[in-house]
């Protein structure tokens, strides 16, 4: 499979109290279409990744909302797979283009979360978890804390090791004006932050965010007619895992991530060593550490060394989350998976400014739903 990325756009992520869901959706879609340099009427199908608008904002019918505000009657559908809704929108867009039925597709992800109380948001987010885990009062930070405890114990890592992904990603975000937290953190700041669910502390956790991101996808034929064909999506793979953590045998692996990435490497004909950069789903520090192992970047039990040694930092051997990741760029749930593709696209186009990865040729995005119930992987190549 080879889908061309024609254009991409990300709104500012953050507490955007002056912008509604519809504003963010429209800004991202128009930005991506403008970047692609095509007329909006050339978009043949639209996939919208969103998790919570129906629950929190009383707006389910986003396809019609977007059509109305954009002034087009293009086929359009919302897709949802918890925090992987954005990656899923990109995956469906690839499928539509590869089917030959559509020459172009637009994938957009959007979430508007910060107008509500933390209690409302936490409870709404937990709709992506199993009923038993909801009923027993678990939260996502609680679930990921179980992974973290097991990981620290199994590999003799220290609590301090959980700080390094956050410090790195904040440094990256300090170079990204679109990031929610464009500033650096020190080790002391992370280590001294309040405990949320032991061993996870406040500054190990991604924030509540507003934001949107969009990409325009096209067939090779369409892109050729536009003389724009420099970045391809060469693999788009999704896998499903168990909804509940309680149903897993192994707490130090997200199996949906491992199996989706293996299939993606095979499809694209690349290996982890070929990757110039990765955007991974670091909803909590431990999630980035486990992801690096699931994606085959290192052996099991080694990822925290990579984090400590700076190998996955900008300028290191294989930069991870140069956008700032979910931790520091922000995590507007439905937008995250699309934003990852936007970041890798910008890097492969050599237009990432201060945080440009040198000679970036191959990038991978990794978007997870729930505690690993869904994983979506995309590989982009120049």
């Amino acid at each position: 499979m080879k889908t061309v990325v024609l254009g991409a756009y990300q709104t500012k992520f953050g507490e955007l109290w002056d912008k509604g869901l519809d504003d963010l959706l429209l800004e991202a879609v128009q930005g991506a279409i403008e970047d692609a340099g095509i007329d909006k009427r050339k978009i043949e199908i639209i996939y919208i990744g969103n998790k919570l608008a129906g629950k929190l904002l009383d707006q389910n019918h986003l396809s019609a909302l977007l059509g109305e505000s954009l002034g087009i009657k293009t086929p359009s559908v919302r897709v949802e797979a918890a925090c992987a809704s954005g990656g899923m929108a990109v995956a469906q867009g690839c499928l539509a283009v590869n089917s030959g039925q559509f020459q172009t597709a637009l994938a957009v992800g959007v979430e508007k979360m910060t107008d509500l109380s933390t209690e409302e948001i936490s409870s709404a987010l937990m709709t992506a978890a199993g009923q038993d885990e909801q009923a027993n009062g678990l939260s996502f930070v609680g679930l990921y804390a179980l992974l973290a405890n097991k990981y620290l114990d199994k590999y003799q890592a220290k609590e301090e090791d959980l700080a390094f992904p956050a410090i790195k990603n904040h440094f990256h975000a300090s170079l990204n004006k679109k990031a929610q937290f464009p500033f650096s953190l020190t080790l002391d700041q992370v280590v001294d932050s309040p405990i949320i669910a032991r061993p996870l502390k406040l500054l190990h956790c991604s924030p509540i965010s507003d934001g949107a991101a969009a990409v325009v996808l096209a067939s090779k034929e369409f892109a050729k007619s536009k003389e724009r064909k420099s970045v391809y999506i060469t693999a788009s793979v999704q896998r499903t895992g168990s909804l509940s953590l309680a149903k897993r045998d192994n707490l130090t692996e997200i199996e949906a991530s491992s199996s989706a990435s293996q299939a993606a490497y095979q499809l694209a004909g690349v290996s982890p060593e070929d990757l110039s950069l990765l955007e991974v789903h670091d909803c909590f520090s431990i999630a980035e550490i486990v992801a690096l192992e699931d994606l085959g970047i290192c052996q099991r039990g080694e990822a925290y060394y990579l984090e400590r040694n700076g190998e996955v930092k900008l300028g290191g051997r294989r930069p991870v989350n140069v956008s700032g990741g979910l931790k520091a760029c922000g995590h507007p749930v439905g937008a995250t998976g699309v934003k990852q593709v936007v970041e890798v696209y910008n890097q492969l186009k050599g237009r990432a400014g201060e945080r440009q990865v040198k000679e970036a040729k191959v990038g991978l995005t990794h978007n997870v739903g729930g505690i690993g119930g869904t994983a979506v992987i995309h590989i982009l190549q120049k």
Copy 2:
């Protein structure tokens, strides 16, 4: 395009207080897989149509929920386009199979609504409408009443004419054990029922329902290996309209329905005259009347004659909603669009029992989201 329907299943629709969302989902999926005569591991991708589980049941991550209960790790994603979520699941399934990336796809629709109060349900349903219309206290019956008033006035029809779709569909449902209301109604019963939003009365309205339906789709190559290739989906088309009724010029047409059906007829190479039967989106009586005109079954302003004269009744020239339609078979929102395909499939297979349409060869399904913000059309042929 030619996608083979390999198998289909509908649960009982109704007030199913002893069954949860997960029970209904699993029953439909297992039923369809069994009907297709394949192993569940042969299903390569799953699309789940659902509107309200996140809002009403605190369960968003249905893809992982189904994967867990079915014991498979198949790629799976929820799609949502208000009351057209089911049709959209089938449409995405067709796309997946036609892309050549997947040999099989399963589309399932599910909704669990009757455990909640009418107020909660009404408010949740309105998340498919525009913000202004929600804020001004409109309900869907209120919105469709605006269409009905305009229609009656424009074509000099009588309020009594609104009764005939309901009477016909209840008669059909009396022949369908899976229907929520398997009994007939008299003209007096409908006319004497209480007014909900003038001119629409209680018995012009589809009910609140629980239920699920699923279809297994396959490529021609896969179906050939199974020696099962008698029913094809020859057109699968979706169109988007304005979210708000206030943005429309014409209240006696759902433009998304007209344009989607025209495209579908062209794709399938059939005309309205070729249709042996139709399943249309009769959420309210007036919706069926307008649909017949949008779908080109008759001229504008003539549909109420067809209803009155029995032309669209079982045994008539072109039966409409032989399942009982949304009105009498029931309307578990996310399931409806899939159930329509299940009904037409069963009819084309000649296994519809007492309500079998004679020599059924070509059928059309018509699924609408909101007040016409989305329309999805499928044409099935033997």
